[in-house]
Every structure is written in structure tokens, then in C-alpha cells.
């Protein structure tokens, strides 16, 4: 079998001034995942490492750089799935952690559950020793600017993020 990793950094509108950094980010993340596969690593380790890199890159809407809720907070969601066992782990509405994808993997590996949300997911993260990070460490100037712009009564956040329908 010839290993392969395929990565996306989100669909929708990418402003020209951000496209170069975003492209560098997905290429770098794909290389990181592929390095794991070439070294004989498994596909789950590869996808989690790939997505962790993208979560840590403020050019993307996940982890650091996440868009904000209407109240100006960060609430993040993530999922992993293993095709060999059909094992899966997911979290939603998690705050104050750097890498929700790693928490999703722990849900799969360490619990009998498939999906934990909100405060329950946070409690689980604490029990697994995942360090909490300050909320502001996940917020970028760009995400705050977009949040403010979309507070206007005539704003269309979905169109702003996804672009107009063709």
C-alpha cells in the first residue's frame, strides 16, 4: 500500500492577503502527516498530527484562530474516526484548550463514549491532564475584526465566511 495523506484548510472565501500563509500551512501539515506515514506510522497518528498543526496555525479557523461566537467567545468542535475499528471520538463546544482534535482522540481511546460536549468535555479534558489555556490565546486580531464586522444588523456571517452561492 502506498501511503497518502490529504488535508483541507476549509472551504469558502480566502482573502488574497491570507491565501499564501494558508497554503503554506496546509502544505506543511500534509508533509508532517506524510512523514509519519513514511516512517511506518499509522493513519490515525498521521491525521491527528496534521490537524494539530493546523489548529496551532492562526491562519485557520480551528484551535488558535477560531471564529468567535455572537458573545465573542471561542467554542470548538472536533472528530476523529478509525476505519479499522469504526472507533470514533468527538467533542463540541469546548473552550480553553489548544487542541480539540487530541481531546476527540482521547474520547475514542479512553472512554466507551463517542461524543462529549461542553462542560462534560472540559471535565474529561481536565481528568486527562490536558492543560487549560487562556481564552485570549485562541483569539486572533483577524477573528476579532471579523466578529465586530458581523455584529452589524445588516451582516450576513454565513455569506461572509462561505462566499455567495453561485
Amino acid at each position: 500500500m502506498i501511503p497518502v495523506v490529504v488535508v483541507h484548510g476549509g472551504a469558502g472565501h480566502v482573502p488574497r492577503e491570507r491565501s499564501e500563509k494558508s497554503m503554506e500551512g496546509v502544505c506543511s501539515a500534509a508533509r508532517a502527516g506524510y512523514t509519519i506515514l513514511r516512517g511506518g506510522g499509522n493513519s490515525m497518528d498521521a491525521v491527528v498530527e496534521t490537524v494539530t498543526q493546523l489548529e496551532n496555525n492562526p491562519a485557520f479557523n480551528a484551535g488558535c484562530g477560531s471564529v468567535l461566537t455572537n458573545k465573542g467567545d471561542v467554542e470548538m468542535d472536533a472528530i476523529v474516526m478509525d476505519g479499522k475499528t469504526l472507533g470514533s471520538g468527538a467533542v463540541s463546544a469546548v473552550r480553553n484548550i489548544a487542541n480539540p482534535i487530541q481531546l476527540a482522540r482521547l474520547v475514542m481511546d479512553k472512554t466507551s463514549h463517542v461524543y462529549l460536549t461542553a462542560e462534560g468535555a472540559s471535565q474529561f479534558a481536565r481528568s486527562m491532564g490536558i492543560p487549560e489555556v487562556p481564552p485570549e490565546s485562541l483569539v486572533t486580531e483577524y477573528s476579532r475584526m471579523r466578529w465586530k464586522k458581523n455584529l452589524r444588523p445588516d451582516a450576513n456571517p454565513v455569506e461572509c465566511q462561505m462566499g455567495k452561492m453561485g
Binding site: M1, V6, A11, A29, L68, D77
Partner: protein, 134 residues
């Protein structure tokens, strides 16, 4: 939203997807990403998908599982991805994108939105794109 799919040298397949959601979302709103079959799905017998786009539309058509359904019926990763994205656009008016692999390592990065940033690594070669056709 960010995501990845992979096939390793043993032929095992996995997917991962992570997101901050949609701009200025209502507190407590959850989209497709953490929902199995919507934000992602992986089955060694069929393939794996990670999705991005308009979450409510993706959930209504369970986009990841829909693509794998088409692959189970014999479609390629690329054709199955296009078919499901077209269905989502025409049926519920949603745009999005996907990365898809099959157990043989054939892969696709397809989208109905104007852009999707993607990259793929195989055979020591890196492929990448932003607009349709790249």
C-alpha cells in the same frame, strides 16, 4: 474548519476534522464537524472523508457518509465526492468541500465553494490547490 484523511502502509484509514464553527454563531450552536457521518467518516472497507463548509447543509445530507455510500456503489473517490456535493447544493442549497480517500490510496479534494485550500502527499510528491482545477 480543517481536516485530514490518510491511508497508511497497512491499508488502515482514518479521518480527523476540527473547527471553530461559523462566524458569530449562536452560543451553543454545533455544526457538522463533531457529528459522525457529517464532519467525517472512515471505514477501511470503503474509504474516508473529512468535510468543510456550511454545517447545517452538511448535516442535512450527512455528507461524509453519503460520499462513502456512492463509493460503495462503485463510484471513484472523485466522482462520489462531486455527486454528493452537487446533491447538497441542489437539495438544501449548501456549499462545501471534502477530502476523500479509498482503500487503494486513490484520493480527491473537491469543493462546490469558490475556494478550498487543500494539499495531498503521496509518493514523495506534494500536490496542492486553492481554486477548482488546481
Amino acid at each position: 474548519t480543517v481536516g485530514a484523511v490518510a491511508v497508511d502502509s497497512e491499508g488502515n484509514i482514518a479521518c480527523a476534522t476540527s473547527t471553530g464553527g461559523i462566524l458569530n454563531k449562536m452560543e451553543g450552536r454545533v455544526g457538522d464537524t463533531p457529528c459522525i457521518g457529517s464532519g467525517g467518516y472512515a471505514d477501511n472497507n470503503v474509504g474516508a472523508v473529512s468535510t468543510t463548509g456550511h454545517g447545517e447543509a452538511i448535516m442535512k445530507v450527512t455528507l461524509a457518509r453519503l460520499i462513502l455510500f456512492h463509493m460503495e456503489q462503485g463510484k471513484s473517490a472523485e466522482a462520489a465526492s462531486d455527486l454528493a456535493l452537487d446533491y447538497m447544493k441542489s437539495r438544501v442549497g449548501g456549499l462545501g468541500g471534502v477530502v476523500t480517500v479509498d482503500p487503494q490510496g486513490h484520493w480527491a479534494a473537491r469543493f462546490s465553494s469558490l475556494q478550498m485550500i487543500w494539499a495531498a502527499a503521496q509518493n514523495d510528491t506534494l500536490h496542492y490547490g486553492l481554486y477548482t482545477g488546481e
